[in-house]
Assembly symmetry: C2
Homo-oligomer: 286 residues x 2
């Protein structure tokens, strides 16, 4: 049976015991309302540690005022059953008051890779992510932590932060898991109306169609971006593009002119009503 | 014999072995050019861990352009002998290139307590300190770390950071060690001319004289500050006051009106030529 802890002290105590017995620890941080994308990360992490810890914490500091913090979907009972089903040993479910001192004033900032893409429309988001992930790493002290590639910029921010701060953890990225029609799984997909849900496949459609352009020889960033934007415009008339970008896979800087030999990552965000969906794909070799 | 490591990987390997044997680790980070103040911290740390690690690293990111990074005094051979003399087991002496990736872009910021006092004239200093101490903690993973109370604001910043980021380390503050005439020990004291050295006792003189005022019943922050500034003006005519402040011991916010029952910390910084000296004292109970 999965063990549930909602205090830092309680979690630390049990992990200290397990570690003293020689156990390694793998970790999957989540905001809950789990879907198959999360479960795939947990299955990856299950293979990488003796004790598998998952956290379920809707972190307020990564939401800006007016974003969907209050509305963010929650279902702890269902989440715990899903964690159990993929072999999670321990779930950490702190309240915000357990995670944030009333006078907390420390932040972790990852410049450069936090800028652009989602960082443009959510300028404080990645500082909230970097700070809470640092805290979770200090609480869980995992040997391995697994994050989804769907949040490509988040994964890049965390890899950069781990490198720059010498955090003793290995970061593993898990592949995007998609619905049968290709839509990337997201806890926010439940917000979509029927019409929006149907048009939301334009995100992955644009990525696949643009990837085919690359396979056909097109290397011009400008042409590829125009192609992707046009695809979304035609297939998701109810959508409003937040961004479509082609970026360096590590530095996340925009590709200008022709794509290099290493290829590039196309990342995009589209609003359907108030719901903002993201997706990405590596285009070209490798 | 003290073991010396200049790579993160080398240090981690030996500490991992010691930890697997059940050893606890205590840690004293320094910028080298050790004096009795540092050695007192090492003696404190010696009692608190099975393996005592000291770092010697003149951290470039806590110096602003125009400060004394290049001129900062260094004497590694002498430092190692002093470490040996107080029972340090391991000295970590990385080059800047070992500590900072050329594209490093992650910073740790501790708002509020980093502001005012030294933060006013050195606005990026504590971000450099917080970031490098986070890195050192992630590299050494100490159970206990000891910092000097002479750098009162630094100690407050680190305590706040450890609390806010849930860093699993106990922070211990070591009392200020003074020369026979009261001057707080500092690696920067070697910069002082004979005249400046003589007048530099005005810092501790002002603190002691103001403390006597408190013992005599004076509780007004304004009167105490005026007294301390007057003392420095009379006894250190060659000095230039950077700040003299009376602050809350934890939040470092200025005391206005009468001091509370918990007392307050008087902190001051005075330039003698290019050399900036600091000192502080807790005034009133406890």
């Amino acid at each position: 049976m999965v063990e549930v802890y909602n205090t830092i002290a309680g979690l630390r105590q049990v992990l200290k015991q397990r570690r003293q017995q020689g156990a390694s620890v793998s970790f999957v941080p989540t905001m809950g309302f789990l879907h198959d994308g999360h479960l795939s990360l947990m299955r990856l992490a299950r293979e990488r540690g003796d004790v598998l810890v998952a956290s379920i914490f809707v972190n307020p500091t990564q939401f800006a005022p007016g974003e969907d913090l209050e509305a963010y979907p929650r279902d702890l009972e269902r989440d715990l059953a899903l964690c159990q089903s993929v072999g999670v040993d321990i779930v950490f479910t702190p309240e915000p008051s357990q995670m944030y001192h009333p006078k907390a004033s420390t932040t972790v900032t990852v410049a450069k890779v936090s800028q652009g893409l989602c960082g443009t429309s959510r300028p404080t988001h990645f500082q909230g992510v970097a700070t809470v992930v640092t805290k979770l790493f200090n609480i869980v002290q995992p040997d391995v932590a697994v994050f989804g590639q769907k949040d490509y910029q988040q994964l890049a921010v965390i890899r950069r932060m781990v490198r720059d701060l010498d955090i003793p953890v290995e970061i593993v990225g898990g592949a995007i898991v998609r619905e049968a029609d290709g839509l990337a799984m997201s806890s926010r997909n439940v917000y979509l109306s029927e019409t929006h849900r149907a048009q939301a496949t334009a995100l992955v459609g644009a990525l696949r169609s643009t990837s085919a352009q690359v396979d056909g020889g097109q290397r011009s960033a400008e042409a590829l971006l125009e192609h992707a934007r046009g695809f979304i415009g035609r297939h998701a008339p109810a959508g409003r593009i937040d961004y479509v970008e082609l970026v360096d896979p590590l530095e996340l800087t925009p590709v200008v002119g022709d794509m290099g030999h290493g290829g590039a990552v196309m990342a995009l965000a589209v609003f359907f009503g108030q719901t903002r969906l993201i997706d990405n794909m590596h285009l070209g070799a490798p």
